[in-house]
C-alpha cells in the first residue's frame, strides 16, 4: 500500500462556491479559519460544537470547459445534500476529558465494520494531542434533536463530522492549556502539549487528567479555536489499526445478540411462504407453547413469534407450528415476471438531434435481485412495558426507528429509548429498523422482554433486497467522436423510507436540480454522472412499483449503472480500434480519474501478455468526491472455471486485483484500504456469483451455500490497494466507493477473456447451483453431524 505524506493543499483552486461558507474555497482554506464551540457545565471538561459547521464542507461545483454539460452529481452530490440538511439543526456533539486522562465521545453514527469509530478517535487524538488508545468512542442513543444528523449512509460520515469533531477536540485542548497557564501563572503560548501532557518551557508538566476537573466550566462559555494544519498532523493521514481490533479477535466485541438484558429470552418468528405474507390461523399454538423450553407464542403482523430458553428450541417450535398463511403483495411474482415488467417500462431512447448520421452501440444489461444481508442475522432486543420501551439494535437511522416504534406501540417518542449497538456488517440493511420494530411488537404482545433474531433463511428470504433492474445504453459515435451517451436505468422500486426521503425533500428542493423528482430519482441524480466527454449525456432512472422488500445496498445504483457504462465504453473503444485504457485516457474529463487510471495502468502492468482465456479489465468511477480505478485479471480457462469446491460455486477467478483510490484526504489509509478490499469482494460476487432467484413471491436462497457471496476460493490471491497522495484537505466518502468500478472491471475483464460481452449479472444467474430449502417451515433445522466434519 502506498500512503502519502506528501503535500496536502487546501482547497480546490478555480472552483467557485456552490454553497455558503465553503471552507475549501475560502481564502487560506481551513487552516486559517476560526471555529466556534462552547464549554458546558459538567463535572469535568466538556466541549460542545454545533453540527452546523458541516456546511463548511459542502463541495464546490466543477468548472468544466468541456462539451458535456455537467450532470447534477457533479454540481452537488448526495453527501452535499446530507451536509446541507444537517446545517440548520441545533444538535450539539460533545467531547469530554476525564480525570483518568482519557477523552470520550458518543458519536451519532453507527459502526457496522466500516471503521468510523477508529477514524473519529483519530480526529480527537490528533487535535487533543492525546494517544489514540486514550480516546473512547461509543455510539449515541437515538437523539431526536439531531434530526437528520443521525443517519449513517451515503458514505457521508467522515465528510460530515470531520470538522465538528476536530473543532471540539481542539477547543478541549485549548481549554486545558489555558487552565494550566492560569494555575501556573504563565503564558499559554509558553506551553506545549503532547501525549496527553502539558509542558511549560521551564520544565513543569501536568497531565490532562489532573486538569480535567479544573478545566470544567460552571456555565456555558463561548470559545474560538483554530484547527491544526495538515502539515502538523501526526495521526490523521497515517495508517492506524482499528480501535476495536483486540475486542474483535478475543470474542469480547459485543453485538446485539451478545448483550444480556434481564429477562430478554431468545425469540424467533415462523414466517409465511411469500414475502410479507400474513397469518390466517394458527392451529396448534397451545401445543407449541407446551414444548420444552418454550415460554410464549404470539401472532404478529408477518408471522408467529415464539420465545424460549434457547434459539434452538425456538427453531424447534417454528418447525412444529401449524399455520395457515395469507399471500403477500408479490406472491405472483418471479424473476421472469419482474423482468417482463421492467422491459415494458423501459422508455425508448431519445434520438439526439445531430447534424450527421452517427453509428450506435446499443446494449441492455439485466441485474438480478441481490441480498444486502450482513453475516450477523437481524437481531434486536426489546423490553416493552406499560408506558415505556427500551430497544437495542444496530441502527443507522435510530431516530426514525424511535419515532416509528413509538407510533406502533402507542407511546410518546420520549418514552422509547433506542440504544445503537455495533453491527456485524450492514451494507444498507441497517438503514431500516425492521427487526427492532418486530422485536418491539413481539415484546408488547408477550408482555415480556425478548431478544429477537431472524434466522439465516429469514435474512435471505424475507430481508430487504437490492431489486432487479435493467440498464439500457445507447452510445452514438462518428469516426473517433462520441456524440451522445444515453442510459435508461429501470428498476423495481427501491425503498428509501428510512429518512433519506424526508431529508431530500426538505433540503433537495432548495437545490437547482431537484424539480419534481421523486426521492429515488433524486438519489439517482445526486449519485450518478458520466465521467466521460461523450457529448449529449443523459442518465435517467425509472421505477416500477412492486412491493418487494427492498432497500439500498452498498453503493445503491452505481454498481449496475457503472458496470453497464464501462462495458459500453469497452465496446466503443473496440469500434474505434482503440485500446480500452487509451480510450479512457482520451475521453475522461475528470483529472482525478485520469490520475488514478494512469497509476493503475502503470502499477498493474496494463497490456501485459496473458494466456488465452485470461484477460485484464479496467473500470473507473467517481462518487462521494472520491475517484477510483480498478484493474483486474480474470482467469476464464476451463480448468479454473471447473475447479471443484464442495457445495460451492467456482467459475472464473479474479486472480489479481489492483485498486487505486483518491479519497481527497485519506484519514486512515489502512482503514481506507480495508474498504477498498471489501468493495472488491462485493463486486466479484455481484459480477460473477451472488444473486437471489425469485420464485412465486419468495427468494429460493436460504443459506450462504445458496447465496454465493465471495468466499476464499473466489477471492483474488493477489490484492493490492494504492492510496493516492492527498488531493484535498478534507475526506471523500469511501465505504462504498470501490464497488462500482470493481464490478465494472471484472465484467470488462470477463468480456475480454471470453470474447463475449456479458449482459446478465451475475453471470451464473442462469444456473441454480443448489437445492433450495422448502419454503415451509420457514427456518430449516440445524444439522446434527457437525462432529463428522471436525478437522
Amino acid at each position: 500500500m502506498t500512503a502519502s505524506n506528501g503535500p496536502r493543499p487546501d482547497g480546490e483552486p478555480g472552483r467557485p462556491a456552490a454553497t455558503p461558507a465553503s471552507a475549501e474555497s475560502a481564502p487560506g482554506g481551513l487552516g486559517r479559519r476560526r471555529f466556534i464551540g462552547y464549554l458546558i457545565a459538567a463535572p469535568t471538561l466538556a466541549v460542545v460544537v454545533p453540527y452546523s459547521m458541516t456546511s463548511a464542507q459542502a463541495a464546490a461545483p466543477a468548472d468544466l470547459p468541456v462539451p458535456s454539460l455537467p450532470q447534477p452529481e457533479e454540481i452537488v452530490d448526495l453527501g452535499d445534500v446530507q451536509n446541507l440538511a444537517a446545517a440548520p439543526t441545533s444538535g450539539l456533539i460533545t467531547v469530554r476529558v476525564h480525570e483518568d486522562g482519557t477523552a470520550s465521545f458518543a458519536v451519532p453514527r453507527a459502526e457496522v465494520g466500516q471503521g468510523m469509530t477508529t477514524a473519529v478517535a483519530m480526529m480527537i487524538a490528533e487535535e487533543l494531542d492525546l494517544p489514540l488508545g486514550k480516546v473512547r468512542v461509543t455510539m449515541a442513543d437515538a437523539r431526536p434533536e439531531l434530526m437528520m444528523n443521525q443517519l449513517t449512509g451515503g458514505s457521508n460520515s467522515m465528510r460530515s463530522i470531520y470538522i465538528p469533531v476536530r473543532t471540539a477536540a481542539a477547543l478541549a485542548r485549548q481549554r486545558l492549556v489555558d487552565t494550566a497557564a492560569r494555575r501556573w501563572g504563565v503564558r499559554a503560548s509558553d506551553l506545549t502539549t503532547s501525549d496527553g501532557v502539558i509542558r511549560h518551557k521551564g520544565g513543569r508538566t501536568a497531565t490532562y487528567g489532573s486538569l480535567a476537573k479544573a478545566a470544567a466550566a460552571s456555565a456555558t462559555t463561548r470559545l474560538e479555536t483554530r484547527l491544526k494544519s495538515p502539515d502538523d498532523f501526526t495521526i490523521l493521514g497515517t495508517p492506524q489499526n482499528r480501535i476495536d481490533a483486540l475486542e474483535a479477535v478475543t470474542g469480547r466485541k459485543q453485538f446485539a445478540g451478545d448483550l444480556r438484558v434481564p429477562g430478554a429470552k431468545p425469540a424467533m418468528v415462523a414466517r409465511p411462504p411469500t414475502i410479507h405474507g400474513t397469518v390466517a390461523a394458527v392451529r396448534n399454538a397451545g401445543a407449541v407453547r407446551r414444548m420444552p423450553g418454550i415460554t410464549d407464542v404470539a401472532v404478529i403482523e408477518h408471522g408467529v413469534a415464539v420465545r424460549g430458553e434457547t434459539f434452538g428450541q425456538c427453531i424447534d417450535a417454528i418447525r412444529a407450528l401449524d399455520v395457515q398463511w395469507k399471500p403477500g403483495p408479490v406472491a405472483d411474482e418471479s424473476d421472469a415476471t419482474v423482468l417482463r415488467r421492467l422491459r415494458k417500462a423501459t422508455p425508448p431512447m431519445a434520438v439526439p438531434k445531430l447534424p450527421v448520421l452517427p453509428k450506435h452501440i446499443d446494449a441492455e444489461f439485466v441485474f438480478a435481485f441481490a441480498s444486502n444481508s450482513p453475516l450477523e442475522p437481524e437481531v434486536a432486543i426489546a423490553d416493552v412495558r406499560s408506558g415505556r420501551a427500551e430497544i437495542w439494535a444496530s441502527l443507522k437511522v435510530p431516530i426514525v426507528a424511535q419515532e416509528d416504534i413509538a407510533k406502533r406501540l402507542g407511546l410518546p417518542v420520549h418514552a422509547v429509548t433506542v440504544h445503537v449497538v455495533e453491527g456485524g456488517g450492514s451494507f444498507g440493511r441497517h438503514l431500516f429498523h425492521d427487526v427492532a420494530a418486530e422485536a418491539a411488537e413481539v415484546s408488547q404482545k408477550m408482555g415480556k422482554p425478548v431478544k429477537l433474531s431472524w434466522s439465516r433463511t429469514d435474512n435471505f428470504r424475507q430481508g430487504r433486497t437490492h431489486p432487479m433492474c435493467i440498464s439500457r445504453v445507447r452510445a452514438s459515435y462518428l469516426g473517433s467522436s462520441v456524440l451522445a451517451y444515453e442510459q435508461r436505468h429501470v428498476s423495481s422500486e427501491t425503498d428509501f423510507g428510512h429518512g433519506f426521503g424526508e431529508m431530500l425533500t426538505s433540503a433537495g428542493s432548495k437545490l437547482p436540480i431537484a424539480g419534481n423528482l421523486t426521492v429515488a430519482e433524486s438519489i439517482f441524480q445526486l449519485s450518478q454522472s458520466s465521467p466521460y466527454d461523450f457529448g449529449a449525456t443523459t442518465q435517467l432512472l425509472y421505477e416500477i412499483p412492486l412491493k418487494f422488500a427492498t432497500g439500498s445496498m452498498r453503493n445503491i445504483y452505481s454498481p449496475n449503472v457503472v458496470c453497464a457504462q464501462e462495458l459500453v465504453v469497452d465496446r466503443l473503444a473496440a469500434a474505434m480500434g482503440r485500446d480500452p485504457l487509451a480510450f479512457r485516457r482520451r475521453y475522461l474529463k475528470d483529472e482525478k480519474l485520469k490520475a488514478v487510471l494512469e497509476r493503475a495502468a502503470e502499477a498493474g502492468d496494463w497490456g501485459r501478455t496473458l494466456p488465452d482465456g485470461v484477460a485484464q479489465g479496467v473500470g473507473v468511477h467517481h462518487e462521494y468526491r472520491g475517484a477510483v480505478a480498478v484493474l483486474v485479471e480474470i482467469d476464464c480457462r476451463p480448468e479454473t472455471v471447473n475447479r471443484p469446491i464442495e457445495h460451492g460455486v467456482t467459475g472464473p477467478r479474479v486472480t489479481k486485483a489492483l485498486i487505486v483510490v483518491d479519497a481527497g484526504f485519506a484519514i486512515n489509509p489502512r482503514g481506507l484500504e480495508a474498504q477498498m478490499i471489501g468493495g472488491m469482494n462485493d463486486a466479484i460476487a455481484l459480477a460473477l456469483t451472488s444473486s437471489l432467484h425469485i420464485k412465486d413471491g419468495l427468494p429460493l436462497e436460504g443459506s450462504w451455500d445458496d447465496y454465493f457471496y465471495t468466499r476464499q476460493w473466489n477471492t483474488p490471491p493477489t490484492m493490492r490497494v494504492i492510496v493516492m497522495p492527498n488531493t484535498r484537505s478534507t475526506p471523500s466518502g469511501a465505504g462504498e466507493l470501490a464497488v462500482a468500478p470493481a464490478f465494472a472491471a471484472v465484467a470488462c475483464a470477463y468480456a475480454r477473456a471470453t470474447g463475449t460481452m456479458p449482459t446478465r449479472f451475475p453471470i451464473n444467474h442462469g444456473t441454480l447451483g443448489f437445492e433450495p430449502f422448502p419454503t415451509q417451515p420457514s427456518t430449516p433445522q440445524s444439522p446434527t453431524d457437525g462432529l463428522d466434519h471436525a478437522f
Binding site: G113, F255, P266, P377, N681, S703, W704, D705, G786, F791
Partner: protein, 204 residues
C-alpha cells in the same frame, strides 16, 4: 431435564437442557459464552467455529448430548490458554494485519485458521494458497486477503510458540463442582468461572 457435562475452556461445566439442543445455544444462551457467533445455524458460514479436543467444528451442528464428559471444548475465549499466553499467535497475527472489519466472523475465522495450520503441519507441509482456498468461513465484509496474509504470518509464529499440535486448554485445578445451570440467572457466575471476565453481562 437431562444434564450434560463437558470441559469448557479448561473447566468442567454442567448444564441442564434437552438432549437435542445444539451446543452453540448451550454456549451462547445458557452459559453466556458469546465468542462463537450465530451466522446460519446450518453448518455453512462457520462463524461459530470452536475446537473439540483441538479440532475445529461447528457447535451449531452438534446436539449437546453428543458431547462426552471428557470432551474438551475450546472457544475463542479459551484459545490463548491453550498456549499459556495472553493472546494466541494467530490472534496476534490478526492484530498485526488489522484483519477485522465488523469483526462478527473473526472468532470463527481464527479458530478455523489455527486448526487449518495444524492440519497442514500434520500432513508435513506449510499452509499454502490451496489450503486457504479450502476455508469455508464467510466474511461478508470481504476482508479475505488480509485473512490469508494473517494466517501465513500466524502459522510462522505458531511454530515459534510451539503451538502446532492440537492441545486443548489446560485443566485448572481444582475443577469447580459441577453445578446445574438454570438459565439465565446463574449464567453470569458460570461465565465468570469459564471465561474469567465480565463478558456478556450488559447493564443498561
Amino acid at each position: 431435564m437431562p444434564t450434560h457435562t463437558f470441559k469448557l475452556n479448561g473447566k468442567q461445566v454442567t448444564v441442564e437442557t434437552e438432549d437435542s439442543v445444539r451446543l452453540l445455544w448451550v454456549l451462547r444462551d445458557l452459559l453466556g459464552v458469546t465468542g462463537p457467533k450465530y451466522g446460519c445455524g446450518l453448518g455453512v458460514c462457520q462463524a461459530c467455529t470452536c475446537h473439540i479436543n483441538g479440532k475445529a467444528f461447528n457447535p451449531c451442528s452438534v446436539p449437546v448430548s453428543k458431547i462426552k464428559p471428557t470432551d474438551e471444548i475450546t472457544t475463542i475465549e479459551g484459545l490463548p490458554a491453550t498456549v499459556d499466553r495472553e493472546l494466541h499467535p494467530m490472534q496476534e497475527a490478526w492484530l498485526r494485519h488489522d484483519v477485522s472489519q465488523c469483526g462478527y466472523c473473526q472468532p470463527g475465522q481464527i479458530m478455523t485458521a489455527v486448526a487449518k495450520v495444524r492440519q497442514a503441519r500434520e500432513a508435513g507441509r506449510e499452509i499454502g494458497d490451496a489450503d486457504l482456498d479450502e476455508l469455508r468461513n464467510v466474511c461478508r465484509c470481504g476482508t479475505y486477503s488480509r485473512i490469508r496474509e494473517a494466517i501465513k504470518d500466524g502459522a510462522e509464529h505458531m511454530r515459534q510458540a510451539g503451538a502446532e499440535t492440537a492441545r486443548p486448554a489446560p485443566s485448572s485445578s481444582p475443577s469447580p463442582t459441577p453445578s446445574h445451570t438454570s438459565p439465565p440467572d446463574k449464567a453470569k457466575d458460570i461465565l465468570e468461572e469459564v471465561a474469567g471476565r465480565d463478558s456478556g453481562l450488559f447493564s443498561p
